[in-house]
């Protein structure tokens, strides 16, 4: 099953570690908050993604395995 990244937007405090550790998938907006590129994380970036999750100072970043079920996205 593919891995995707998600962010607890209430926790996120714009530390910006994630964009530093995973620039291939995460950029920052004008205020330092992350913009994640949609879609599954390719295998060769999984290690970096795990590190970004572990290094987030407020534990706002999550890596999860999701079933490719489009009906779950609607709500």
């Amino acid at each position: 099953m593919p891995h995707t990244l998600s962010i607890d937007r209430i926790r996120c405090d714009a530390h910006g570690m994630c964009a530093e550790l995973l620039p291939e998938r995460i950029e920052l907006d004008d205020w330092g908050y992350p913009i994640i590129r949609q879609g599954p994380i390719p295998d060769h970036l999984l290690g970096h993604a795990r590190r970004a999750v572990a290094e987030c100072p407020v534990l706002a970043l999550r890596l999860q395995q999701v079933a490719a079920n489009p009906s779950m996205r609607r709500r």
């Binding site: 962010i7 607890d8 937007r9 209430i10 926790r11 996120c12 405090d13 714009a14 907006d29 004008d30 205020w31 330092g32 908050y33 913009i35 609607r74 709500r75």
Partner: protein, 411 residues
């Protein structure tokens, strides 16, 4: 339409319909033990939620029914925080028993042990009508039931915020999952459903899903309440057969008052369309979505040709930025920045690149909040940038308005 619908019955300004009157007119709900079957009928009906998101009602009820063990909660959402919408309070005020029917029905169908009526604290008449109607129901009320006045504010009606308020008196959205259907009021699976959706369900339970589908001209079937606002002689709420066009619903409110340039569909969370594009557009959630428009909570608001679309969009953005729950960075800073820049452009104080930045920021915020507040705000903004493109360009480049800057009735 001759079929009984949400607003048929006694005059709407006569106060809440009494129980005996509604019973004479519509008959009783099916008995409690048969109310589980109504979920199938709701599915046949194809009823979509009327709070704004348009999520299928049957799917939502089934999700809660599948999780609870008779301990679910029904949260009746009558917060109605959208500034242009009046349909929920009209329904609660004039047809309180239909809303209560929907709540009792849902409680039996999903297996609920409690019902919470969450009604905007500003909607006094609606609260009074519901309280009086609840007192009339007597022994029919077999489970604990509360009326919780909801705080004023745009996000208070968002479903996770509603649950949060009932639990902790904090009307702010929370990070999901878990969604309310998984863990809501007191940690129980909770059905959060708009009052109009519940009232429609109460009709489907009586007359069936196939009956409900006998109304509706296009893709989505049934009837819906619509609030017509802006440049019309008789702004207010009408019930329409889905698929009725923007032009027809405007006629029901007395027609255009003077020239009209654009229409805001779906409310502050909705989208703008040019009047010529919109006039023959059927008000049908599926067809609107296919055109990147939205039915939302059923608002149709007409912008007079003399009013400036840039200024109107700026006031709406200002309202939405001020309504942010102030919890998520992209919403706190992004909406505020868009609102400030749009106001500068509107008031002919545009800084260099303001329009460019508004456009870029508006493309970055969707999906980046705990709730969908930023999504709705930037959808409105992006549609405004398209429909009022010429006005935005003149405001930005020449720092002037093509319209004499008349404050519009829309915002």
């Amino acid at each position: 339409m001759t079929m009984p619908c949400l607003l048929s019955g006694p005059p709407l300004d006569a106060g809440g319909e009494r129980l005996h009157s509604q019973l004479t007119r519509l008959g009783p709900l099916p008995p409690p033990q048969r109310r589980g079957e109504v979920i199938d009928e709701l599915e046949v009906a194809g009823l979509l939620g009327r709070g704004g998101a348009g999520f299928p009602v049957a799917t939502k009820w089934r999700a809660v029914a599948g999780r609870g063990a008779g301990d679910a909660v029904v949260l009746v959402n009558g917060a109605e925080g959208e500034p242009l919408s009046h349909k929920d309070r009209l329904l609660m005020t004039s047809r309180p028993h239909l809303v209560i029917d929907g709540a009792l029905l849902a409680a039996d169908a999903v297996g609920a042990e409690e019902i919470v009526f969450y009604v905007g604290s500003d909607h006094r008449a609606a609260q009074q009508a519901l309280s009086r109607a609840l007192a009339e129901r007597g022994s029919e009320i077999t489970r604990p039931l509360r009326l919780v006045p909801s705080p004023t504010g745009y996000v208070a009606g968002e479903e996770s915020a509603a649950v949060h308020y009932v639990n902790d008196s904090v009307a702010l959205p929370v990070t999901t999952p878990p969604r309310p259907f998984e863990r809501g009021v007191r940690g129980r699976p909770t059905l959060v459903q708009n009052v109009e959706s519940l009232a429609a369900a109460a009709l489907v339970a009586r007359f069936g899903g196939a009956w409900y589908r006998s109304a509706g001209r296009e893709v989505t079937k049934g009837t819906s309440l619509v609030t017509v606002a802006g440049s019309v002689p008789r702004p207010g709420v009408v019930e329409i057969e889905l698929g009725t066009t923007v032009g027809e619903v405007t006629s029901a409110a007395g027609g255009r008052r003077g020239e009209v340039s654009a229409v805001l569909l779906g409310g502050y969370f909705g989208a703008w369309a040019g009047v010529d594009d919109a006039w023959d557009q059927p008000l049908d959630p599926a067809m609107l979505r296919a055109r990147q428009l939205t039915f939302g909570c059923g608002v149709v608001s007409l912008l007079p040709a003399g009013a400036c679309g840039v200024e109107t969009a700026a006031w709406i953005m200002e309202y939405l930025a001020s309504s942010s729950a102030q919890q998520c960075g992209p919403c706190v800073f992004g909406l505020r920045a868009i609102a400030d820049a749009t106001m500068r452009v509107a008031t002919n104080r545009a800084a260099e690149h303001d329009l460019e930045r508004i456009t870029r920021w508006s493309g970055q915020l969707a999906g980046r909040g705990a709730c969908r507040h930023p999504d709705g705000a930037v959808a409105m903004m992006r549609s405004a940038l398209g429909v009022f493109a010429d006005d935005f360009a003149v405001h930005q480049d020449n720092r002037r308005c093509l319209h004499g800057s008349m404050r519009s009735a829309v915002a």
